[in-house]
Symmetry: C2
Subunit: 245 residues, 2 copies
């Protein structure tokens, strides 16, 4: 099942029944979290109007408007802090470490939710845009201080059946005992199958570039964008109260 995962970007209009959605989200909550603090929240959005508002935050990728459910997974210390304050406990979670802790919780939960959804015949798509546009998502979803959106998953019954996407060979990403750095020959070997895929050769041609790597650096994930999004993300961490150390 895990090995058959495909990202699904086209969904049927069939809604997801409340009970099924609850079961899937419950499987999310069974994931490990730091100290069992559960410092995350999931926002499950189904109303078309709110999905339409979220859409530009995800560069208008059609999944946001078209999927019956949009799940925004957030690092969340707000609930935990409120509990602490009501119990004469002084929370010390207004710092960078706590953001990372909450993000880890949110992501392990997200992956559990995705696997549970796929086990039920649903399709999912992760959207990496969430951390780029966190500030606007915070405003649209009314996220209070202590809460930062980390990733978004669209959920629905698949209306497409894409083939399995390529992966680097296992020895590209696994190191035994300690990290073994890559020789230039090894890099050539590890990336050759990816570079020879017809669709990737086509990408390079279409963009009039010299290599597939340039599709990433010059088109898809450009330095100027990364720098701009880094700065806004760091300012979001400040705004949401995670950089007070």
């Amino acid at each position: 099942m895990l090995n058959q995962h495909r990202t699904i970007r086209k969904y049927k209009t069939t809604p997801i029944k409340e009970e099924l959605l609850s079961e899937i989200l419950y499987s999310g909550t069974r994931a490990s979290t730091t100290g069992n603090m559960q410092v995350y929240s999931i926002i499950a959005t189904t109303e078309q109007e709110i999905k339409d508002e979220l859409s530009p935050c995800h560069f208008n990728q059609p999944m946001i408007r078209e999927a019956p459910v949009v799940l925004t997974f957030c690092a969340d210390y707000n609930r935990f802090n409120l509990w602490c304050k009501q119990r004469k406990a002084e929370p010390g979670y207004d710092n960078f470490l706590s953001f990372v802790t909450g993000a880890i919780d949110a992501l392990l939960v997200a992956q559990n939710v995705c696997i549970a959804a796929e086990n039920e015949g649903l399709g999912i798509c992760y959207l990496g845009t969430t951390i780029y546009m966190a500030e606007k998502i915070i405003d649209i979803l009314d996220l209070p201080e202590g809460v930062i959106p980390v990733t978004t998953v669209t959920l629905g019954y698949p209306d497409e059946n894409p083939k399995l996407t390529d992966r680097l060979p296992l020895d590209a990403v696994v190191h035994y005992e300690k990290y073994q750095d890559y020789t230039s020959e090894k890099i050539d070997e590890l990336y050759s199958a990816k570079e020879e895929l017809a669709e990737n050769i086509q990408f390079v041609k279409e963009n009039k570039l010299e290599s597939l790597a340039q599709v990433f650096t010059d088109v898809r994930y450009k330095k100027a964008d990364n720098v701009a999004f880094s700065n806004t993300l760091l300012s979001v961490l400040k705004r949401q109260g995670f950089m007070k150390q």
Copy 2:
């Protein structure tokens, strides 16, 4: 299966066969990653000497020395950057956004690996200490610039059968449509079952505290520690080349 997850801290000495380990790690690689860049690495450590070195980085929790396999999941732009440079592409991934992107990849992969392992009858334990002690782990595992350890999982055949741990009710962590902030009555309601657990009442007593929340704020996850670890983690991000924007 997902709903039956228990953290396993005691392992049999039975080693994990190489082929099985490879299968489990392969399932990890089938997880979604940003743009299918796979900007993560997994360090699988089985040598006792290296596990002994890692042990203090995880506050000497016995799982590190005792588990047959220790998996350190890392955000990794080193491999991707090497590839770019060999292909006349200028990588722009020396910034905070890229660290978060790599960490997201690493964590989705980690959760897939854990689920695959549990499906094979193995037990897992996540260690949150990785981000506290990233600097020492980098030295021990020879992680180059562009690589940061994000979480660690110990893996082995279970030698204990703990009961399912408690979770907050589903409506504590799920918000429909937008974030619904918590009233003080709601906080009382959501945390009451956790506070009434015999083991948690015992924790409060043992530590001579007034509330379970104080066990977190005054004993387990203290402000002074969080601030110190935040500062070292931010300096690790600089050292590993992720704060150049």
